[in-house]
């Protein structure tokens, strides 16, 4: 049993110079066989393992990760959490996640630094205004908090925004979801890893999947760099590399993997206490607790697995940021990086069974997966444990690309995917 983190354990460990803390998770070698193997040790994969163990009483689980846990897109995103999606199916999915976020630090006994500082989406043209108003109404019908703001109200909520009517893309209004916000992304992976490990889940790092062994209609195990692991159920949560894993099982997916970039500035004193996103000029910004401005750019339009994006993408984003926030004109950028995101044709995720029995995919989150981490894990665990989707993820099946029943959030969500 691990030490519970509390003020008392902090004081107690201070006496031993913080050298005797328990390891948050073990570093085991794989066993020969597991009931479920999760491929991918990011937030979604670890959350899936956590909920499988916690809610479905499956304890013999392995999470195999090619690098280190949380080293992929979980540690590369801009940590924004919101649920103001247009369509009912998406609203249900993302608000389910948001409700779990609200109690997650307590549940995991791990401070994920969830901060409901609000997310504001800006409108820059007449169509934006109409779309955002429509989305606000749709959100409220689905029980999601949303308000439409006038230009003056935008300025009042975030005074550093340039609301002059004379800029290239003037701010004509915006929406605000107050329950939305940010969380510390690494802590989410670490918290779920610690929680899953405590319930007996084996988290196996530096273990790359090399092949999937299957017979005609079901899976038999996975071939990894640490040997063969026998299992009847495989949950693939491999983000940008989902297609690579699918190909190992002889499946094709409707995904394209593209680079998405983000960057942070040097740390400064608190200047922006919310998250502001803009669809039309594709710029979004928030400030981390360390004081860095966290800026998200867009995706490149070509397939790439190189975790590098094009320079002009960042340039375009920073142009927009500078026009909206002239106060940042002399900020220096500290770091820039890219991650590989798997994008579906309808910009909605896939949480689904496949034509192969025992093989499940959780992918296609595109540019916006972090916000869904707890909900995605919970629903994917349900899907794997019961071999049937939960009603909240039923719409996000693979079959929708054959039936045509898409969940078309492309351009309908609060920000371009």
């Amino acid at each position: 049993m691990k030490n519970k983190y509390s003020i008392f354990s902090l004081i107690k460990n201070a006496f031993s110079y913080h050298e005797n803390w328990h390891k948050a998770w073990k570093d085991p070698q794989p066993k020969k066989e597991y009931d479920v193997v999760i491929v991918g040790g990011g937030g979604h994969g670890l959350a899936t393992a956590y909920y499988l163990a916690k809610k479905h009483n499956i304890k013999n689980i392995a999470v195999v990760e090619k690098g280190w846990i949380g080293g992929g897109n979980t540690g590369r995103n801009t940590t924004i959490i919101r649920s103001n999606y247009l369509w009912d199916a998406s609203a249900g999915l993302y608000d389910h996640a948001l409700k779990i976020w609200e109690g997650l630090s307590q549940e995991l006994n791990y401070n994920i630094m969830f901060s409901q500082r609000g997310v504001m989406n800006l409108a820059h043209n007449l169509q934006d205004v109409r779309d955002l108003k429509r989305r606000t109404h749709a959100n409220r019908l689905n029980g999601i908090d949303a308000v439409y703001l006038s230009t003056e109200e935008v300025k009042k909520f975030c005074p550093i925004i340039n609301t002059s009517p004379n800029i290239r893309y003037p701010v004509l209004g915006g929406t605000l979801q107050k329950r939305a916000g940010t969380a510390r992304h690494d802590a989410v992976a670490w918290g779920y890893a610690r929680g899953a490990d405590e319930m007996g889940v084996d988290i196996i790092q530096n273990c790359e999947v090399k092949g999937i062994k299957r017979n005609i209609d079901s899976v038999e195990g996975i071939e990894t760099t640490k040997g063969f692991i026998k299992t009847k159920k495989i949950g693939v949560v491999a983000a940008g590399h989902s297609t690579v894993i699918a190909n190992m099982a002889g499946l094709k997916l409707p995904l394209e993997s593209k680079p998405l970039q983000a960057l942070v500035s040097e740390p400064v004193k608190p200047i922006i206490d919310t998250v502001v996103m803009s669809n039309a000029v594709h710029a979004y910004i928030s400030q981390s607790d360390k004081g860095e401005l966290v800026i998200g750019a867009g995706t490149d339009d070509y397939v790439s697995y190189s975790q590098k994006g094009s320079h002009q993408i960042i340039e375009g984003t920073l142009n927009a940021i500078l026009e909206l926030y002239p106060i940042f004109s002399r900020m220096r950028m500290l770091r820039q990086w890219g991650g590989i995101v798997d994008i579906c044709p309808d910009a909605s995720p896939i949480l689904s069974k496949t034509s192969v029995k025992g093989l499940y995919f959780n992918c296609g989150w595109g540019t916006g997966g972090f916000k869904a981490t707890p909900g995605s894990g919970d629903l994917f665990a349900h899907t794997i444990a019961n071999d049937e989707p939960h009603k909240l993820n039923a719409a996000f099946n693979l079959n929708r690309f054959i039936s045509g029943d898409l969940v078309d959030e492309h351009g309908a969500a609060a920000v371009a995917h």
Binding site: H241, T243, V244, K252, L253, P254, L255, E256, S257, D300, D301, Y302, V303, S304, Y305, S306, K308, S310, H311, Q312, P345, F401, I402, S403, G404
Partner: protein, 91 residues
């Protein structure tokens, strides 16, 4: 991948180009006879290869002509560029 050698204009900055996705996806000859599975395959399923991939590109801010590109998606290295209608290299 900063410069792309347009077969009509020569080397230009990547910024002038637009990626057009996977190449050599043929429009079905008999669309009315296609099953839902075949439609899904044509419309949505993509190879999304990690490694050598065949793509279409457009010199959007230049001659506006389309062409094909062979590119290694694991490191963004351009291997070959050839015109539309030309046969893809076999190796």
């Amino acid at each position: 991948m900063f410069l792309i050698n347009c077969p009509y204009c020569g080397e230009r900055d990547q910024q002038e180009f637009k990626a057009g996705g996977e190449a050599h996806i043929e429009r079905p000859k008999q669309p009315t006879e296609l099953s839902d599975d075949e439609w899904a395959e044509y419309l949505f399923m993509r190879k999304n290869i990690k490694g050598i991939q065949f793509e279409r590109w457009n010199h959007a801010h230049g001659c506006r002509k389309w062409f094909n590109m062979v590119r290694d998606t694991s490191n963004d290295e351009i291997k070959l560029i050839y015109k539309m209608g030309e046969k893809p290299p076999s190796d």
